[in-house]
């Protein structure tokens, strides 16, 4: 049953002429079928087991307005999510005090920037304010929240509105028009 009969065995009969000895080319396919079966079973089981993971997102309650102590600009790193997967941030000064706007990409650069800034003030005073702009996309926001989880930043806020001084700052320093 698991053989291919190539007809090499008793085929041609050319009367009298010397023919080289034909090697029968029967292939036993049992191992191949077994491997195929194993692979298919593996893939079937593997696809049912990989469930997508999820990230929790806790938004503050908009109806409750708590009085929190005002943030000192020296502890705050404001991170703007720009277009084209670029991130701009300012640290230590408010937008109207002419701070330096730095540009980083996602991944290692951003992580290093966050960790360096966290070390400048202590970890429990460091606050990250994330401001996504209209030009950023969903992946940018998820990556940013992921970086917060990786760097274990405890205090963070996601704010949709940019202040006027921030808009002017971004327009002047990095040519980003909001």
């Amino acid at each position: 049953m698991a053989e291919i009969n190539t007809g090499g065995g008793g085929g041609k009969h050319d009367g009298g002429k010397v023919r080289s000895k034909k090697v029968s080319t029967r292939v036993d396919m049992t191992p191949m079928v077994d491997l195929g079966f194993l692979l298919i079973t593996f893939f079937i089981l593997a696809t049912t087991l990989s469930k997508p993971s999820s990230m929790t997102y806790n938004a503050p309650d908009k109806t409750k307005t708590e009085e929190t102590e005002p943030l000192k600009a020296s502890n705050v790193m404001t991170i703007f999510l720009g277009d084209n997967n670029k991130v701009y941030y300012i640290f230590g000064k408010a937008a109207n005090e002419d701070p330096e706007v730095k540009t980083v990409g996602y991944g290692y650069e951003l992580r290093k920037a966050i960790q360096d800034n966290t070390r400048k003030v202590s970890a429990d005073k460091f606050v990250a304010v994330i401001k996504p702009t209209k030009k950023s996309n969903y992946k940018n926001l998820v990556d940013m929240l992921d970086e917060m989880a990786i760097t274990k930043t405890q205090r963070l806020a996601v704010v949709d509105e940019l202040t006027d001084s921030e808009k002017v700052l971004l327009k002047d320093k990095v040519k980003l028009e909001i």
Partner: protein
């Protein structure tokens, strides 16, 4: 032996549950979070690349209950056949006034029909915002529903903000973002809280 192999293979194929057609392909970003998406009692709000919003809940009887609630609220009636078809859809993205005609399309046309998405708006509470109606009626049908947001990588932030506003207007502040898996960077340990 080959017969046994094929029999077992056929058995596994037939016992695997078919995934019902998603309204649109959504590629989610990846994150290091290890929490798994729950299997039951889950409401999925999909946000496509082009900003279209799709909605779905997980259980067929819940879907029918939700549809009944919406029909009552909007004054539309659905036939039993339409309800049954609706209960088999895992998610959809049509405005309520097009829902009846969409359900009456034959299956092949349904698969190729470009769903326009569920209307949302930036305040989350406007009359034209149908997402809030679906969310409200779904929770009325099943109070334990948890909310999962499945957003495409390239969906723009303003659309995400609209979905967020819709949920916050109903006082929903805790939800999950569905992401793919990603290995955390080397040497990172999960913090114990």
């Amino acid at each position: 032996m080959t017969d046994v192999a094929f029999l077992l293979l056929t058995f596994f194929i037939l016992t695997a549950k078919f995934r019902s057609q998603d309204a649109a392909a959504i590629e989610t970003p990846s994150s290091i979070s290890g929490i798994k998406v729950p299997e039951k009692d889950i409401m999925t709000i999909g946000l496509g690349r082009d900003g279209k919003v799709y909605f779905g809940i997980d259980d067929a009887p819940n879907r029918i209950a939700m549809l009944d609630n919406i029909a009552e609220a909007k004054g539309i009636t659905f036939t039993n056949k339409e309800k049954k078809d609706f209960s088999l859809m895992s998610n959809f993205g049509v405005p309520i006034n097009q829902l009846k005609s969409y359900l009456n399309l034959p299956k092949e046309q349904q698969a190729t029909f470009k769903q326009p998405g569920i209307p949302v708006d930036s305040t989350g509470a406007a009359a034209s915002n149908e997402l809030k109606d679906w969310v409200f009626n779904a929770r009325k049908a099943n109070n334990d529903l948890r909310i999962a947001l499945k957003g495409d990588n390239l969906a723009k932030f303003p659309e995400f903000k609209n979905v967020l506003a819709t949920l916050q207007a109903q006082n929903i502040n805790k939800f999950n973002l569905i992401t793919g898996s990603e290995a955390p960077p080397a040497g990172w340990k999960a913090s114990s809280e």
